[in-house]
Symmetry: C2
Subunit: 488 residues, 2 copies
């Protein structure tokens, strides 16, 4: 690991991000262009994300399944918008077992087509509905410009797929899962999101309506961190997914799909990282507490290692959080000075450090250092597990509050001129809440002129009460209030 | 679901297997030749398997990571035996993003090459060793004859990959993981395995030594259910994976890899299934207990549904198994008779059924039916959680015992003539423990003449004390005692 300080966020946000991801050993470049290796420090965060999301999916009645990696090329072509969106990014298998294939296979960029072709086989009557499934899988999209976690040829994700008897049920499902994502991003990632509806230009290829979660990164650009689609009957019609209704008629089913990916790890870094390194919200930290024993002599060493182990046992054995035990690591490595260890754990973003030296032991106390605020405090050993759990809880809350305040400080809710808007987008960036006349041509023009896009039409509860009533660009009556920003 | 009885195992084992997998909704055929869909009933078992194995990997110090799906074709060619073994089965991506690739990419059949190329980047000194990693991933091998779970083009697996400073450390690691697999297969799958060393002809392409777990299916054929390889320095040399030793010299590292896959679900079916359907060992059952409330009138219905829910709450709330709560489902479906529900849950292999009718309620009791023995017993409600947990424990043990007895009844440990051996292999099948002179030509001849292969040279602890000292085929002095069988 290099001892050179990270490039600061202020100096070069993009360089800071890449350095942090590499140095904290979250991920690395691979020999295959655009494909990354997710290293254990990064994968451990993904495992925590998976665990939380998977639990929420199951609580809402979904079951996991697994569908093939390969999709016959002809399947992509069955839904007109879908093929237009995904065919250009396809990775194509043309040979297998030493022979040219009769029909090329596409490595799945998303699985609507293959999954709904199976649903069509399984569904006969309204009694077979709803189907509520999810899969954890890898997908491939042939991107030209890639960034670790944010945009890679291959990434890991989950994709939920459901089938329903009515439009309203599908709509309720799509909205429910948007809510699940919002809850996850706020309560686990400590990353506030604006949720809302995508415009027709920005929706998923093949969807009726797309909803998304939009988070603000520290460079004031937006990151789309999760999407939920009401697919209408588009795929059901393309794949003959029909059912006999209770009344006896044959109808097409209504589908939804919804996904989040390893991209969220990039979002975590760009939401919480600082110039020292990563800061992981406690709930997603594979290790919440690292204990660093400090010794000078051999006698001290064995005494302090023992005390550190005892403390770990006490912390992990504490039942005050129920089954969710405090996750603790003892850094007992030899030949590395405590200061170097602190540096490493701060770079990696472990929420709480406990330093344990001979004097602490004598005082029946220990020194703690919070990663979020970098404040240190000596705490008594008595009742330490509850104190630590309280600190971690507080950190989780504080990180969300800080991120929300940051975002609000860079959100513009007052009417502003298009000139001022352009200035903002070319300068420091922002989430701009503004009126839009609903014309896709205006949307396209703004994108071309400012690189900003409509991130979403925010859900009612996020509308500025006295929001703009005229279109920021044309001055015409606004059809929607929208959120503009440049995005990853 | 078809009401026709399953083909019996005795009538046609292979047809029985396919029917069971499809009807119990474990998996289904997909539109892509040789690729299967793992349905929620099958995937739920895989999730239980993953959870148990993943815990054991972490307890032995391994961390999860994720490496790319695609491998540059040239990488496969760097290790001579490896390319010979895997190139013929490769699925090849030749086009990406609408363009022909400069170098074709192989969809990983296994990840030694890409992983050790990364290890080479990360390892400088002996201080960076050992590296202990695992990944959960999909892999593709272009098989011509496929069977659901047993042999499919794409399958899900885990592959552990480690790097060590010495041969002995790598050897100890390979043996340790073989032991982990054995423990998992016996304690979770209730599937006894013979563990041992593969012959040179049967080892992994590129390994120094391969160890395997061999289970006996109910048709007396062997299923290789997990392998662990000491890769020696073969890949380290191919990918320049070197380190500076403590003494200052530059040396090649020693690698191991080890894997188990969704094939184990096929092994579970063929070990425990009966003519009624699947039987899942309780530890791997996503649902251990299904409660079927029985009612005639509406008044009874609401009373019994309520009682069933109360019972579920009592069972799942019971803390006698610590964090591992009893997994319970209430089958409250309307319009399906209790008998039809029993049939379905027996087909799916849920370990314990609880029937709850008005009379049971009046007697403060319930009727239980074990799936393994199909024995029924009325049990008092008082203390039911502990009774149920005891029943499930007993079932788990009994299933292992029964499978072990079955295997031993079809294992031949007494010396036998090659003629009798051929008869056995062409007839009912068996695990035959016999002497072998160590000559690969003899091994090849037996394979051609009988389709039986040497499954392994069993570990010392499994040797028959007074085992054969002469080669079964040639009568020459035996170099090894080996286990012969036909295999999947």
């Amino acid at each position: 690991m290099s001892d050179k300080a990270l490039t600061t966020r202020a100096a070069d946000f993009s360089a800071w991000y890449n350095e942090l991801v590499l140095r904290a050993e979250l991920a690395d470049y691979s020999p295959v262009r655009g494909c990354m290796v997710i290293r254990p420090n990064g994968y451990g965060i993904w495992e925590r994300m998976q665990r939380a999301l998977d639990g929420m999916f199951k609580e809402t009645g979904h079951r996991n399944a697994y569908f093939p990696l390969f999709i016959p090329e002809s399947f992509l072509h069955k839904e007109a918008e879908h093929v237009e969106g995904f065919a250009p990014e396809a990775a194509v298998v043309t040979h297998g077992g030493g022979k040219k294939l009769e029909e090329p296979l596409v490595v799945r960029p998303t699985s609507e087509t293959i999954i709904y072709s199976m649903f069509a086989k399984w569904v006969q009557s309204y009694r077979d509905l709803p189907i509520l499934m999810n899969q954890w899988a890898n997908v491939v999209r042939w991107e030209m410009r890639t960034r670790l976690f944010l945009r890679t040829l291959e990434f890991l994700w989950q994709e939920g797929h459901t089938a329903h008897a009515t439009h309203d049920e599908a709509e309720a499902e799509a909205r429910q899962m948007l809510g699940v994502y919002r809850t996850f991003m706020e309560e686990y990632m400590a990353m506030p999101v604006v949720t809302g509806l995508k415009t027709q230009a920005e929706k998923f290829a093949g969807a009726l309506r797309t909803y998304s979660c939009e988070a603000m990164m520290q460079d004031n650009k937006a990151l789309q961190a999760g999407t939920s689609h009401n697919l209408g009957q588009n795929f059901a019609k393309a794949f003959d997914l029909t059912f006999q209704s209770e009344a006896g008629s044959i109808e097409h089913a209504w589908n939804t799909s919804w996904g989040t990916s390893t991209r969220m790890i990039g979002g975590l870094v760009m939401t919480h990282g600082d110039d020292i390194g990563l800061r992981i919200p406690p709930k997603l930290a594979p290790v919440e507490v690292v204990i660093v024993p400090i010794w000078k002599s051999d006698e001290e060493r064995s005494r302090l290692l023992e005390a550190a182990q005892r403390l770990k046992t006490e912390l992990t054995g504490w039942g005050g959080r129920g089954e969710d035990r405090i996750r603790v690591h003892v850094d007992a490595r030899e030949g590395i000075k405590p200061g170097a260890k602190y540096y490493e754990w701060e770079l990696q973003g472990i929420p709480l450090r406990i330093e344990l030296g001979p004097r602490d032991l004598a005082n029946n106390a220990c020194m703690t250092a919070r990663r979020d605020t970098r404040t240190k405090a000596s705490l008594p050993m008595d009742g330490l597990p509850a104190t630590v759990a309280g600190l971690l809880d507080g950190m989780q809350r504080d990180m969300l509050t800080a991120a929300r305040e940051r975002r609000e400080a860079h959100s513009v809710r007052e009417p502003l001129s298009y000139d001022r808007f352009r200035e903002l987008m070319e300068g420091e960036g922002a989430f701009v809440y503004a009126g839009w006349n609903g014309d896709p041509a205006v949307e396209a023009r703004v994108k071309e002129e400012t690189k900003a896009t409509i991130r979403c039409i925010p859900e009612p509860e996020f509308r500025t009460p006295n929001g703009p009533t005229t279109c920021m660009v044309t001055g015409e009556p606004a059809q929607h209030q929208v959120v503009w920003a440049r995005a990853y």
